[in-house]
Subunit: 272 residues, 2 copies
């Protein structure tokens, strides 16, 4: 019998005693000087980061923009990196798709079946029929944008009156659709003031939490609240990939530091 995505996610986090997600925003403009900035250099860097962290890191999140930037060749590189992970971790496609049903179905085929990602981030502006085609297979999941970590997010996401902001409506729709236990929410780490309320509303659903690190979100608060009833996946992208002098050693050290911090807050506090 198929194991629902949310359960698969929780199992691998328990196995690795960690809920870190390394955001694969691979950007050669940020490579240390002298590094190989070609697509082949990006591929080696990505594979090295994955191989050096996969024993303790349960989730990777490639950001599609950083690959599409290089056109079809970047897309092929993304395919190779997802294949390289090869089931050793959960892969969340950070693609923020969402379209009419007919089109969402094509994206689901492309990203979940074709490329083999485990889950995808979804923008809910077009309503529930934009989400449905992505959740038909319960083993694959979605993370629906609820509250995001960027500066101007609130002008849309809090639209409505104070007791009924848009993000609550989005969470309600996500809950209603979550009969296959394969829906989670994106909850930005900068939004601590609404987290308790969102945790109550999103009973048991996993959160994908961006905004820690460069964007200044509060890792500890986000993690403690999300784990009251479910799990919180802490995404760190630039804070790991471009840590220190950009050497692989500094990248690994940063991933270990985040892991130990996350473990000390909500998992078993052992060192990497």
């Amino acid at each position: 019998m198929a194991i629902p995505f949310n359960q698969r996610l929780e199992t691998i986090c328990r196995e690795k005693n960690n809920s870190l997600c390394i955001g694969l925003d691979i950007d050669p403009d940020k490579f240390s000087s002298g590094a190989d900035t070609s697509l082949s250099g990006m591929e080696s860097f990505g594979k090295d980061v994955i191989d050096a962290t996969i024993d303790f890191c349960p989730v990777y999140k490639p950001n599609f923009a950083f690959f599409e930037r290089f056109g079809s060749q970047g897309f092929a590189l993304l395919e190779r990196l997802v294949s390289h992970i090869n089931g050793r971790a959960i892969v969340i496609a950070d693609a923020k798709r969402g379209d009419i049903g007919n089109t969402s179905r094509q994206y689901a085929t492309a990203i979940l079946d074709g490329m083999g990602c485990d889950a995808i981030t979804i923008s809910p502006y077009m309503g529930r029929d934009a989400i449905q085609p992505f959740i038909e297979n319960p083993e694959k999941g979605v993370f629906v944008l609820a509250v995001t970590s960027n500066q101007s997010a609130s002008e849309i996401q809090e639209h409505g009156n104070q007791s009924n902001p848009l993000y609550k409506k989005v969470i309600q729709i996500a809950q209603e659709l979550n009969t296959g236990e394969n829906i989670g929410l994106v909850v930005g780490a900068t939004k601590t003031e609404v987290m308790e309320e969102i945790r109550e509303l999103s009973n048991g659903m996993p959160w994908l939490i961006p905004g820690v690190g460069t964007q200044g979100g509060d890792l500890e608060t986000a993690l403690r609240i999300s784990h009251k009833n479910g799990i919180g996946i802490i995404n760190v992208s630039r804070g790991i990939l471009y840590a220190g002098d950009g050497s692989l050693n500094d990248v690994i050290q940063s991933a270990k530091n985040y892991t130990e911090k996350i473990r000390s807050i909500v998992w078993n506090p052992v060192n990497c």
Copy 2:
């Protein structure tokens, strides 16, 4: 001096006496029996449709999902089709992107600079900083999703009280950002009841109007209202690409029929 996108769009529509947009949702599953359904067959079909219609069709809109479905090779095919259009028409990338500034910038580089599309559709759920990186070059444009043609759109887009639904907030933001005259709105053809109001709010901005044809939207109403103060680009995808028996002749005939209908309503009513 750079000519703003909205002006470029209007100029080519005037030159071709038409505001039809052919949606390139190329789907080999819908090809007539015996047709070549390989990527090479898709490429020939796409190029044949473009070449047979470009003298009278001012805008093409490739739907990224239908290319991403075939992974990096599909993405490469999309690049070749955009190159094939080669400035003979406006190309709107139907990609519905929208992310934090840092990521939106990568998408803008990929789709507007790299692939050479003229404009892109944008989902506004993350607020104005998701839109800004796409509009920095006034020659390139965006179409922001306002009201879409799908069934469950209203549960999000009309959120808020009746006098202040979310889509009005989105239109207000689009207006505020439109200082470079390179922003338009996506207004679904099924949403006739709110079009007069949206036309007043979106003073002069072009509309991209999906939902005519398969989705049953009202072409004439959408076109008359949008042209009261601006122009309306009527997108037809399946209704053209898979018209009649799916032969190129039937495709061309359908594109001509739509063109003549559009011309008879708001342009100079001459036959193709």
